[in-house]
Amino acid sequence: MSATSKALVGSTTDDEPTEPSRKKRRQAVHGPAHEEPWAPYLFISPFFILFSVFGVFTLAYTFWVSLHDWSLLGGMNAFIGIDNYLRLLDDPRFFKATVNTFSILLLSTVPQMILALMLAEVLNDRLLRASHLFRSGLLVPNITSVVAIAIVFQSLFARQNGLINAIIQLLGFEPINWHAGRLTSHIAIASMVNWQFTGFNTLIFLAALQAIPLAYYEAAQIDGANRIQRFFRISLPLLRPAILFAVVLSVIGQLQLFAQPLLFGAGAGSTSGGNDNQYLTILLYLYGQAFQQPFRFGYSAAIAWTLVLMSALAAAIVFGINALLDRREDRAERQHQRAVARRKEVAR
C-alpha cells in the first residue's frame, strides 16, 4: 500500500518525508486511506497484462526455444543447453553480420546526429521565414513507408541504370557497383536510414533548443560570442540530454536493422544480405535462419537473445559515456566555483 502511494506521489517523495507528512500528503492526493487500495493497480493493469503477454512471455519463451534443437517445420527435437550460443561464437556469418550491423550503425547514427543538430540550429533561427513549412517537411521522410524508401534508393544505387552512377559517370568517373563492396553497400543502406530519421532527430533537438532560455544567448552575444561559439558553448552542452535520448533510440533501432538491407538486396526476399554477406545484418540473419532453409528455429532464438544482450550493452555504453561527461562537467564546475571563491577572497 505504501508502495502505491509512493508511486502515485512520485517525484514529490524525493526529500524522505517523515511519517505524518506522508500520510497527510496521501490524504490530500486521494482522500481517506481506506478506500479501494487495489484501484490504482487496476488502472495500470492493462499495460502490464499486455506487456507480460507480448513482452515478458515472448522473451522467456524465446529463451526457452534457444536452448533446444528446434526446427520450424519438424518441431522440437532435444534440449541442448547453451550449444546454440556456443555455436554462435564460432559462426563466421554471425560475426560478419555483427560487424556489418555496427558499421551501418556508425555510418547512419553519426552523420545523422551531426546533420540533425545543424538543421535544428538553423530552424531555431527566429529570422527564418516559413519555418513551419520546413519543420513539417522534415517529418515527411519519417512517415514514408520504409518499403517505398528502400525501392527508391535501390534504383538510385542500381548498378546499370541508377541515378547516382549516372551522375558519377557524367563527372567522368567509373560507375560504382554499390551492392558488391562492403563499405559501398553500407553507405547505401546507411543513407536510407539517414534519409528516414534525420528529420525526426532534428525535431527532438529543435524542441530541446527551444527550451534553452534566450537570456544565455543574449548574454553571450553581449560578451562578443559569435554564432559558432554560441552553438558550441551554449546549445551543445545544454542539448546533451536530448542527444543522449536520440542516440540511444537510434542505436537500439539500428541494431534491429532489417527492412533496408532485405529490400536493398537483389532479387526477391533474399535474406543472404549480398552475395558475400557484405550487408547481412543480425536481424536479417536471424530471420533467414528461422524462416528459410534450414528452418533453425532454436538457433535463430539464440541470435535473438544475443541481440537483446547487445542492445542492453550498447545502451549501457552510451549511458556510461554520458555519466563520464557529467562527472567531468561537475568537476569543472566545482573547480570554477572554487576559483571564483578564491578570487572573491583575494579581492576582499
Binding site: S71, N275, P294
Partner: protein
Amino acid sequence: MRKFTPIAALVALAVVLAACGGDADTGSDDSGATSDNGSAAGDGDQITLNLWTFGNFGYDELIEEYEADNPNIKIETLIQEFDPHHDALITSIAAGSGGPDIAAAEVAFIGAFTNQADAFLNILDYGAADIEGDYLDWKWNQATTLDGSATIGLPTDVGGLAICYRMDLFEEAGLPTDRDEVSALWENSWEDYIEVGKQYSEATGRAFIDNEGLLWDAVVNQSPETYYDSNGELIYADSEQVRYAWDIVVAALEAEIDAKTPAWSAEWNAGMNNGDFAVLTCPAWMRGYIEDQAPDTFGNWDVATVPQGGGNWGGSHLVIPAQTEHPQEAYDFLSWLLAPEQQLRVFEGTGNFPSTPELYDTPQMREFTSEFLNNAPLGEIYADNALDVVAQNVGPNYNLINQEFGEALNRISDGLESPEEAWETAIANIDRELSF
C-alpha cells in the same frame, strides 16, 4: 508461378486486402454461410475449406463450380505474394494451428515439406495411388518420400524450360530469327549457346544473357541428380552436372556476355524493355511476366527450345497440412481441382502448364500459341520439353544449396573472387550450413 520482386510486396498487400474484402462480400451475400467463419461449427452440414495460394493459379471459376455442385462446401481463398505465402504456411505448421486446409507449395519448398511428411496429410491414405498415373512421374515424385510411403500433395503446373529471344535484336546482330533456325544454333550444347552469345555481343556491343543466375538454374536442373542423389545422399560437391553447370556459367562470365541485371530487380524489368539482353530462360509462366513488365516489346519475342532439352524451373503442388479438420473433404476437392479436365481449363485461362501428360496431345494444347511471342507454338514446345524432364530428388535443403552456388557465381561476376575461390567458398559454406 515463382518469385516476384519485393517491389510487388506493395501490390501483394493490395491483393490480400482485396481478397479479404471479396471474401467478406460473398459471406454476407450468402447469409447461411456467415455463421461459420473460423471453425466449421461442429458436425454442421456447412464446411469451409481454406485454400492458400500465391500469384495467379486461376482457380476462381472452378471454385464457384465446385461450390455449386457441393452446396455443403465453401472454399475460402487467400492469395498472397510468394514469400509471405510460404512464410505464413510454415509458421502455421510450426504453430500447429491457424493454417489452411489446402495450400500451394512451390518447387523450392516441396523438398523441405516432403522431408517433414508428418506435417502433411498422406494422400495415399485417401486413394491417391489410383490417380498417380495421371501426372508426370518426376513431378509426382517431388512430393513423395524417398521410400514411397507417403505423398503429401498433388502437382499443379510445371514450369518447363525454353529460351525466349528478341527477334529484332537477333536480326540487328545478323543472327537468324526463325525459331527453328535459332533452336538449331544451340540445340546440341550450352557451349554453342555461349558461342552464339559471343557472336551477338561482338556484333552489337551489348550483353546477350540477363544474368548468370537464370543460366545456372536452367543448366543445373536438366540433370536427374543435382544436389541429392536418388537415395537422398548429398552429392553437391562431386556431382558432374553441378560442376558442368558451374563451368558453363563461368564460361559465360568470362565471355562477358551477361548484362548483370539480377533477376526480379527493377533493373531486370527495365532491361527487358530496353533490350539490355537478348535472351531469357523461359519457363511457361515467364510469358505472363514479360507481358506485364515489357508490354511494348509485343511481337519482338519468339521462343526457341532449350539447349540439350529437358529441364524444369518452377511449378507447384497443392498440399494438405495435417492439422486440417476436414481431411476427406479437402482431398476430394483437391483431387477434383487438379484432375486433367480442370488443369486444361486453368491452362486456357492463365497459360499455367498442366502436369498431366494426357493433355499434351489434345488439340487445345497442341494448337496453343501466343500472339505476344510471335505466335510461337507454346503448347508443343513445353509439352515436348516436359516429357523430356527426368525425375529428380529435390531434397530438403535444395534452396539453401542453390542459393549458395548462385551467390558464389555472383561473387565471380562482381570480381570479388576467382572462379576456383568462389567454388571452394560455396562448398565450405554449404558444408557448414548443413553440419548442424
